[in-house]
Each structure stands twice: as C-alpha cells, then as structure tokens.
C-alpha cells in the first residue's frame, strides 16, 4: 500500500464524510464550513493528481470567494439552525433512496464499461497541471471561450445590478 493510495483513501474518506456532514448538520453555517472542508479535500486530490494550478484556484475561488459569499449571505439573513423547518422523513427517505439508486446505477454502468478496464490514472507526475502549459493552452487554443466567458460575467453583472438594486 503506497503512500499515494493511503493519501487517496484518506482524502476520499474525509471528503465523503464532510460532504455528508454538509447535509446532516442543522446549522447552515456549519454546512458551509463542512463544505469548505470538502473543497480542501478535493484540492488535496488535485495536488495528488499534480494539478497544482487547479488546486490553488479551487482554494481561492471556491473556499476563498464563493464560500465566503455564502457565509456573508447566511449571516446577513442570520438564519438560525432552529428556524429551518425540516422536510418530512418520508420525503427525505425517498430522496436518499433515489439518490442512492442513481449512484448504484452509474456505478453499475462504470463497472460494465470494458473500455475503462486497466486504465490507470497518472498520479503526481506529468506537467499539464502546472501553470505554464495551462496558460499556453488557455491563451492559444482556448482564447475564444476565455473571451466569451467575459460575456457571461457581463450578463451576470448586469443581472446582479438589476436584481440587487432596490
């Protein structure tokens, strides 16, 4: 059992656990914190996969920006853990059931996929995850989507203005 595998399983377990905590914790703020932990775990995976850039961006964007935003909003609404009413048990059950069955279905699929057998993920070596090649790719091949995503931001901005303005 190599160190990588240990790390992998540890991170995965950690991620899954904290993801579950996101669901089951009553207090929204706790959920947010748990989610941030999930993101850290995922970043860990990125590092394992030697996708350093993404790891950083994930920390910065998600854990740093997005989640903070969430926190702000939640706090601004000061949603207490008590004042969030719960769904009926049966609904929850059905939800879990269907989610689980979706999972099993997809897993079964993947298991049956002959093409994936013996495919290995190329851990910790490989340079594509570093900033330099990514930058090249982004500004050569992917410059168009890069530009166009600005449109997305513009519209989001306008939207935020429309919605947010009193």
């Amino acid at each position: 059992m190599s160190i990588i595998e240990i790390l992998f399983f540890a991170l995965s377990a950690f991620a899954v656990v904290s993801a579950t905590m996101v669901l089951i914790s009553k207090n929204p703020i706790h959920s947010v914190l748990w989610l941030i932990l999930v993101f850290f775990a995922i970043s860990g995976h990125y590092i394992l996969l030697n996708a350093q850039f993404l790891a950083i961006v994930n920390i910065i964007v998600y854990a740093g920006a997005i989640m903070v935003l969430f926190l702000f909003v939640i706090m601004l609404m000061n949603v207490k853990d008590d004042n969030e009413p719960q769904k009926k048990m049966i609904i929850k059950f059905i939800g879990v059931l269907s989610g689980g069955s979706l999972l099993t279905l997809l897993v079964a699929l993947v298991k049956q996929t002959t093409q994936l057998e013996g495919k290995q993920v190329f851990m910790k070596e490989g340079t594509i995850g570093l900033i330099n090649p990514l930058g090249n790719a982004l500004f050569n091949d992917y410059v168009l989507p890069f530009e166009i995503s600005s449109v997305l931001f513009l519209s989001a901005m306008v939207g935020a203005v429309i919605i947010g303005k009193k």
Partner: protein
C-alpha cells in the same frame, strides 16, 4: 462570428446607453437599431459578403443552416422587440439593461447554433440561462416573479450539474470535448458500445430536454412561464426555446448512432410523455398564460420529432416549426400583455369590443393548433413527414395526431370565449398601431401557411 461579436458589442453599448440617454424610447431605438445591425451582420456572414475571420481553433464551426437559424431567430427577436418595446419599459427602470441582456442572450444563441465543442455548448447554455434567471425575476416586487426565478435558478443549475457530469463521462470515453462522429462497425452496422459514452449522452440528453422543457423534465416550465413577466415569458417560450432545440439537434443528429436502438425508445418515451402532459394538462387551466405555458410544452413534443431522424429535412422542418410557433406565440403573448388579468373569463366577448384583435388572436391560435391556411399546419405537416422519413412507427404518429386533436380543446376554448361568450373583456386600451404590428405577424403566418416554400427558398442558395 459576426453575430457573436456584434451582439456582444451591442450588449456592452446598451449597458452604457443608460448613461448616454435616460429616455427609454431612445434606448429602445438604439436597441432596435442594434438588432437591425445584428441581422445585417449575420446576413453578411450568411451570404459571405463580409466575414470577420477568426481562427476558432475548432471551438465553433459555422454552417449555413446554423447561420440561417441565427437569422430567423434574430428576425423573430426583432419582431418581438418591435411589438413589445413599450411593455418592456413598464417593468422596472432597467430598459437599457434588459436590452443588454437580450443581446447577451442572442450571443449565447449564436454560440449554440455554431458550437463545435462541448465547452462552447456549456458556455453557450450558461450564457443563455443565467440572464434568463434574471429576466424571470425582473419584476422584483412581485412575489410570483421571485418565486419563479428562484425555482428556475435552482433547477437550472441542477440540470447544469447533470450536463457537466454527462460531458465528463463523454470526455472520459473519448478523451476530447470535440463531438466526433462515432465509428460504425462495418460488420454489425452498429457502434461498438461504450457504456460510459452512452451514459454521458443520456445525461446530456436529459439536460437538453430540460432546456427545451420536454417532459418529464418540464416541471419548471409552467411555473416559470407563469411567474415571469409576460413580455419575457414570450421571449423565453420562443427564441430561447428555439435555440435550445437547435443545440439539441446539433448534438444528437450525429451522436444518436452511438446510443443504438435504445435511442428510439428513450426519445419515444420523452415525446409521448411530453405530448401527454403538455396537452392534457393544458385542457384544464384557468389562466390563459398558464395554458400557453403547457401548450408550449406540447409544442415542444412536436418539435422533438425533428430529433428523431437525422435528415437535412428534419432541420428544415424544425426551423419552419420554430418560426410558425414563435410567431404565433409572440402574437398571443402580445395580446395577453394587454389583458388586465389572464383568466379565460377576461377574454369574454373580445370579438364584440375588438373584432380585429380577436380575429388576429384566432389566427394565432389556429396556427398553434395546426389548422390549414396557417403556418402551423405546414409546421406540423413537415414534422409528421420528418417522422415518416425517419420511419418511425405509425403508432407514434397516431398518438401525435390524437394529441393534436386534444390541443384543439384548449385552443378553441379561447376562440369560443372570445366569439361566443357574451361579456365585457378585461382589457387595457389597445391602439391601432399595436393592432397593425400584430396584423403584420398574422399576415406572415398566413403567407407561410399558403406558401411555406417562401421560407425554404433561402435554404437552397
């Protein structure tokens, strides 16, 4: 390329136009001018007069049909803005921003008509959706509007998640975001099945169905269409939906082969479900607006026929259907906007008070119902024909026409209310100019209803 660039620029200009002038009228005129420019630019690209040459590195691929789709959608948008200009201004004081958003959406549209890479599909869809969440919620003080936008947002982003999972699977199977034509095994005449690929495609299929509001992924449609400000509903139900369909057909006209036979089943399932839910539920609505929402679902069921086969004919059929359906819907919503409330009762005796308006409404309804002499008839006809060329089972056709018959129920209910029920219509004053605009739409519908080839002659340049 022209369309994308011009629309983006126009969007930006509109954003700032509220600094240049505060008069909504001026902003609207700028917007209309921009639309005109956009149409011209796209036409230039279509005819090859003047093309901004840009190496998209295989992100986009422009083909005549896509450009023609652009053209039609732009023209529809132009008509839409031309008719609903004043109404848009009545919602908040964001005219310029709304126009900006329209242009951004059109940018998304022109991406969706020409994407050649799943990344672009994803971005295009997002550019299309995110502004819509905003438009839906544009009527900030109105709880229904809020509710609609929140519902739309949650479900929309959920379907985005599904879409991404699908794309991930496809990537896992093929190692590229470029949708290549699946390799058919010459012996079995079938694609060697890759479950990962198929799963990805199905997930993609699901999210596309969500975008075009096909059952059983339609649930957002009635609520959102109902809650959103009526003007924007009309835009969502027509241009956006159409763009979704074009993307849909672009993805699957090649990839369906990868799914083998099961493709037929899955699609039939969706088609029947859509026709059933759309038509049956529309029968028993109190609000015309909601009825139209369901009818738009039903119409989507018909449009899905185009996905069934993969002949060039289908795309044409789809385009004709889009035009017919969008024109009629824009017209109907334009009438609806003028009503004080959207219940059927409010249309009582409209024929007495506004004969012309009632007559136009009747034409729109006939077109939706697919009565001959209106564009809707040929739209349906071409769709059925497309289904035949894809040699689908007769049972599917018969189901289709039975539901078409059901649709008569609710479309004619409105006609009956307008013509045969006495009463005072709850309608705001409608000026001649407005009626004239609608009449133009009606005339186009009739014209296409007698000579649908008018539209198609442009496809064979």
């Amino acid at each position: 390329m022209n369309a994308i660039i011009v629309s983006t620029l126009m969007g930006v200009i509109m954003m700032f136009s509220s600094w240049l002038t505060s008069s909504a009228k001026a902003q609207r005129n700028i917007g209309l001018g921009g639309m005109f420019l956009l149409i011209l630019a796209n036409l230039a690209h279509l005819k090859g007069w003047w093309v901004i040459d840009f190496d998209t590195k295989g992100m986009l691929a422009f083909n005549p049909i896509g450009l023609f789709a652009n053209l039609t959608l732009f023209i529809l948008t132009f008509i839409y803005l031309w008719i609903n200009g004043e109404e848009i201004e009545k919602i908040g004081n964001h005219t310029a921003d709304f126009y900006a958003i329209f242009f951004f959406i059109l940018c998304g549209v022109s991406i969706l008509t020409s994407f050649d890479n799943l990344l672009m599909l994803f971005i295009g869809i997002e550019i299309l959706s995110i502004p819509l969440y905003i438009l839906t919620g544009a009527d900030k003080k109105n709880l229904l509007s809020n509710e609609a936008s929140l519902k739309y947002f949650l479900m929309g982003s959920f379907s985005t998640g599904i879409l991404l999972l699908g794309i991930a699977f496809i990537y896992g199977a093929t190692g590229s975001f470029h949708l290549s034509i699946p390799i058919v095994n010459p012996k079995t005449q079938m694609v060697t099945e890759n479950f990962l690929m198929s799963a990805g495609l199905i997930l993609l299929f699901v999210s596309m169905n969500f975008k075009v509001s096909a059952a059983p992924f339609h649930f957002w449609t009635p609520d959102v269409y109902d809650g959103a400000p009526t003007v924007f509903t009309s835009f969502m139900a027509t241009i956006v939906k159409a763009a979704g369909f074009i993307a849909f057909i672009k993805v699957f006209e090649m990839q369906r082969v990868a799914l083998g036979y099961s493709w037929t089943i899955i699609l039939s399932f969706v088609i029947v479900a859509t026709l059933l839910i759309g038509n049956i539920t529309a029968v028993f609505q109190r609000s015309v607006k909601r009825m139209l929402a369901y009818s738009s679902i039903a119409q989507a069921g018909f449009m899905l026929f185009a996905i069934y086969g993969n002949s060039i004919f289908n795309t044409e059929a789809l385009l004709l259907y889009i035009v017919a359906y969008s024109l009629a819907t824009i017209g109907l919503f334009a009438v609806l906007v003028k009503m004080k409330d959207y219940s059927f009762e409010s249309f009582n005796g409209l024929a007495k008070k506004h004969p012309v308006l009632a007559f136009l409404t009747t034409i729109f309804l006939f077109s939706l119902a697919g009565i001959p002499l209106t564009a809707g008839f040929f739209a349906k006809f071409y769709m059925l024909n497309a289904l035949f060329t894809a040699n689908a089972g007769t049972w599917l056709l018969i189901t289709a026409i039975l539901f078409a018959a059901v649709s008569i129920f609710y479309y004619f209910r409105l006609v009956q209310v307008m013509y045969f029920t006495a009463g005072e219509p709850a309608i705001n004053e409608v000026d001649k100019k407005y009626e004239l605009k609608l009449m133009v739409v009606a005339i186009i519908i009739i014209l296409l209803g007698v000579f649908p080839s008018l539209l198609f002659n442009y496809l064979y340049f």
